[in-house]
């Protein structure tokens, strides 16, 4: 992990999307007046004819994307996670997921790491909402390399995808040669003292915690669960068998997200105690992203303390 090089996954998304647009003329990008924040503006500047700004109208955003896909286009629809999956939930459900249309919902500003904007803009239930939808693939990437891979990879899936992206800049974890696969988590380390299953912004925190714990002779492994649905059952069961503890950590409510998904797998397949770290059934609040991660106990320090206790 290159801790000194930090890039927000929304930035990686915007950059790669513009590159992908060159290669695939079916890609059409939609935004709801947030293109400077979601970084779809990079695509918009390059391909104005294939960029649709619908204005502040997220329900319409999803509906237009559905219509475009029915013509063989591959729409990437972006806005903040709270508006995409909250405001337009039912449009996603009935106009995209139910007819299994090829729409890529790429939502940025997920989680408390939105920071200063506070609770109204900090989406903590999106994984829960999207994971519950039949046909939907749900991805939450942890760094620049993985996000760029995901932006391309999801264009190859014929069906709806929810890609969760973040505002806060986070360390680059992976070398560009790293290979990913949808539905297959990445295991970092072989430690058996505990498994930390993380997703998105919490992966680099877990790796940092792993390094700190190593100096205390505690050897943990980190699982980067970039695909929330379909979730990698095998790796969860394997880690439950091989390690002493299973801890999940996410910038999302502990209800319905990664922690819940892991519990579902283990309770059915290999009953194991799961310790969930995340937002504990509350809304967020204003503050700096790093301060909030500390406050809500999803940063590396909180992970270290959890493993030590």
């Amino acid at each position: 992990m290159k801790e000194n090089i930090k890039i927000a996954t929304r930035q990686s998304y915007g950059e790669e999307l513009a590159k992908l647009g060159e290669e695939n003329k079916d890609i059409v990008v939609l935004d709801a007046d947030l293109s400077t924040a979601t970084k779809t503006e990079i695509f918009a500047k390059k391909f104005p004819d294939r960029f649709i700004n619908v204005g502040i109208a997220e329900q319409n955003l999803m509906g237009i994307a559905a219509g475009l896909s029915s013509f063989g286009k591959i729409p990437y629809a972006s806005t903040f996670a709270v508006f995409a999956t909250g405001r337009a939930y039912e449009q996603i459900r009935n106009s995209i997921a139910y007819p299994n249309l090829n729409v890529k919902i790429c939502a940025t500003h997920a989680g408390i790491t939105v920071g200063e904007d506070g609770a109204t803009h900090q989406m903590l239930e999106d994984l829960s909402l999207m994971r519950g939808l039949p046909n939907m693939t749900v991805i939450c990437t942890s760094d620049d390399t993985q996000t760029k891979w995901a932006v391309r990879e999801i264009s190859k899936i014929d069906g709806p995808v929810y890609l969760r992206l973040c505002r806060m800049a986070t360390p680059v974890i992976y070398d560009i040669t790293e290979k990913f696969e949808i539905g297959k988590a990445v295991q970092i380390g072989e430690g058996t003292d505990a498994t930390i299953i993380a997703t998105g912004v919490t992966v680099s925190e877990a790796i940092k915690a792993q390094q700190i714990l190593k100096s205390k002779d505690i050897d943990i492994r980190v699982i980067d669960m970039h695909t929330i649905k379909p979730i990698d059952k095998n790796i969860i069961i394997k880690c439950a068998k091989e390690t002493k503890r299973i801890i999940t950590v996410e910038d999302h409510s502990i209800i319905g997200g990664l922690g819940s998904a892991v519990c579902e797998v283990l309770s059915e397949e290999y009953p194991t105690k799961v310790e969930r770290m995340g937002i504990l059934d509350s809304f967020g609040m204003s503050g700096k992203a790093e301060e909030l991660m500390q406050y809500y106990k999803i940063d590396y320090n909180a992970i270290v303390n959890k493993v030590l206790c």
């Binding site: 509906g63 063989g72 007819p99």
Partner: protein, 279 residues
């Protein structure tokens, strides 16, 4: 093949109405009122106006119709069956277990359905996406959207209206099934929607007001819509909920219930009589 003879279209519209009644009676469930009110509009679209081929339901360059008021599914299914997308016998499976004729239209289950609808207010946005896609493809497809008048109480409709106008979607023709009734009463009483013409005009639409049961008027209006350049058209079609079945006409109570055996027989009798009058 396009049917241009008005009497022939009238006969088809009666057959379509019979199909609606058969389907809903067979299902013992459904929405006759709003299906009957848009039966003439759908008949003209599918038999006289749209560039479609029932043998190529997935042709990329076909015209599209989105029944945004998806609860009128029986009307769409009946027209599609008349047109030959599937057998008329299949209408009897409407709303039954494992049928392709779902309660509300499902584009992945039934050939001829261009968009999955049912949750009100969403179809026009899909049409905007289709119309933009057609322009990007330089395909020349016409996109038709049937909206209910109660449906336009949904805010998303106006988001889509704004988009259609902003993008100069002259390949989009919206038809408002203005039967003036929704479940709980009249449009004015329930949602307070008024001045519909002025509203669409102010959003930059070409607005046409017609009698939605007059076949010639429907043909003329859609023809005008096709010729209008630079902006989308809305045809505000004044209709009668339950049109064609005397005891269902203008009654909100027939929004969402099936006829009894006696009512069914009477309805079919009335439609047969209407058919004889045209012959």
């Amino acid at each position: 093949m396009k049917i241009t003879n008005v009497e022939a279209l009238k006969r088809i519209s009666i057959e379509v109405r019979k199909g609606i009644i058969e389907a809903i009676y067979s299902a013992k469930s459904g929405h006759p009122g709003g299906a009957l009110s848009c039966a003439d509009i759908l008949t003209v679209l599918y038999f006289n106006q749209m560039n479609i081929d029932e043998n190529k339901p997935n042709d990329l360059n076909r015209d599209r119709l989105v029944l945004s008021k998806g609860h009128a599914s029986a009307a769409l299914y009946s027209v599609l069956a008349q047109k030959g997308y599937f057998s008329k016998e299949e209408l009897k499976t409407f709303r039954k277990l494992k049928s392709s004729l779902q309660g509300h239209p499902d584009m992945k289950k039934l050939p001829g359905v261009d968009m999955t609808t049912g949750s009100l207010g969403q179809g026009l946005s899909a049409c905007v996406g289709m119309a933009i896609a057609s322009k990007l493809n330089k395909a020349g497809c016409k996109i038709y959207c049937i909206l209910g008048d109660g449906e336009i109480e949904e805010g998303q409709v106006w988001e889509a209206v704004m988009s259609a106008s902003k993008n100069n979607l002259d390949n989009l023709c919206v038809i408002l099934d203005n039967n003036n009734l929704q479940i709980d009463g009249t449009i004015e009483e329930v949602g307070g929607m008024n001045n519909i013409t002025e509203k669409f005009l102010s959003f930059g639409f070409n607005v046409l007001n017609i009698d939605g049961h007059n076949i010639e008027s429907i043909i003329d209006a859609i023809t005008t819509a096709k010729q209008t350049k630079g902006k989308p058209t809305i045809i505000i079609a004044k209709t009668v909920k339950g049109k064609g079945i005397s005891f269902m006409e203008n009654k909100a109570s027939w929004h969402g219930k099936a006829p009894s055996e006696e009512e069914y027989n009477k309805a079919i009798e009335e439609l047969d009589k209407a058919m004889l009058e045209i012959m």
